[in-house]
């Protein structure tokens, strides 16, 4: 029954979006964490989504769930700031700030929560369709 598959599909969509929301939350939370070297500084994280691409392009399957391939750290340069009075400053008087763009993260957050909501609505509609089908003939 294909209606049952909808729960798998939109469930995978919801979990993928919640991973995205999680990484966004940690990015924003750490946006101001300062450190004294490049290695220790927090780098923005982003999840990579994959539609089981092999399946999507080759097989004519009717449903594709979303899978989170992994979480990658952004390669964007860190913010190096000259602040010799800062307690965390290194020998040359520099501190390092994460490469998190808060505006970008906010937009990402709104998009993720909207997609999550949309998946919830789909699952809800599928549920009512199934319930009506089960009630048929009573």
């Amino acid at each position: 029954m294909s209606l049952f598959n909808i729960f798998n599909v939109s469930g995978s969509g919801m979990s993928a979006q919640s991973v995205r929301l999680n990484t966004t939350a940690s990015n924003i939370a750490n946006a101001n964490s300062v450190s004294s070297s490049v290695g220790e500084t927090y780098k923005a994280r982003h999840p990579i989504f994959e539609a089981e691409m092999a399946k999507a392009s080759h097989q004519q399957n009717s449903s594709h769930s979303v899978s989170v391939k992994g979480i990658v750290e952004s390669d964007a340069p860190l913010l190096k700031e000259f602040s010799p009075n800062h307690p965390m400053a290194d020998g040359d008087g520099f501190i390092y700030k994460p490469n998190v763009n808060v505006m970008e993260e906010m937009a990402d957050m709104l998009s993720a929560s909207q997609s999550y909501q949309m998946n919830v609505q789909v699952a809800d509609a599928a549920k009512s369709m199934l319930q009506q089908t089960l009630r048929m003939g009573k």
Partner: protein, 132 residues
């Protein structure tokens, strides 16, 4: 005269199945609206319905060896890629989530409509059996 479910229920049992399958395809589109490289797909309702109708008329082939094509596999052919509204979205994803959402809602209403027809067919049959 025996009641034949195939004739008694008419086309609605097939349209219900196609609607359910379409709901699945559209839900995949919505779930993958942020997946790079995903191409939106949809079911060609008319051709799926035509094949269901010919199926109903008794034109279906019987499978006598394993090498024959599976009928279910053939029905997957009705799933086709959607022509995107905009040529390039940057990440190869062709899902327009607003459009998919409205298509899903419309499809679910149509599903409920088919279900209603099917239900009335059943109640008609029940009346015929009871004779009241």
């Amino acid at each position: 005269m025996a009641i034949n479910f195939e004739n008694g229920l008419g086309i609605h049992q097939y349209s219900l199945g196609i609607r359910a399958q379409r709901a699945e395809v559209l839900s995949s589109n919505i779930a993958n609206s942020d997946t790079p490289g995903y191409k939106a797909r949809d079911i060609d309702f008319e051709s799926a319905m035509n094949s269901a109708r010919s199926h109903q008329k008794g034109l279906q082939m019987s499978q006598t060896t394993d090498k024959h094509f599976d009928l279910k596999a053939l029905s997957e052919e009705h799933v086709q890629f959607r022509v995107p509204n905009q040529p390039d979205t940057g990440d190869g994803n062709t899902v327009d989530s607003q459009e998919e959402k409205s298509a899903f809602m419309q499809n679910s209403l149509e599903y409920q409509m088919s279900l209603g027809f099917l239900e009335s067919k059943f109640s008609g049959m029940r009346k015929a059996i009871r004779g009241d």
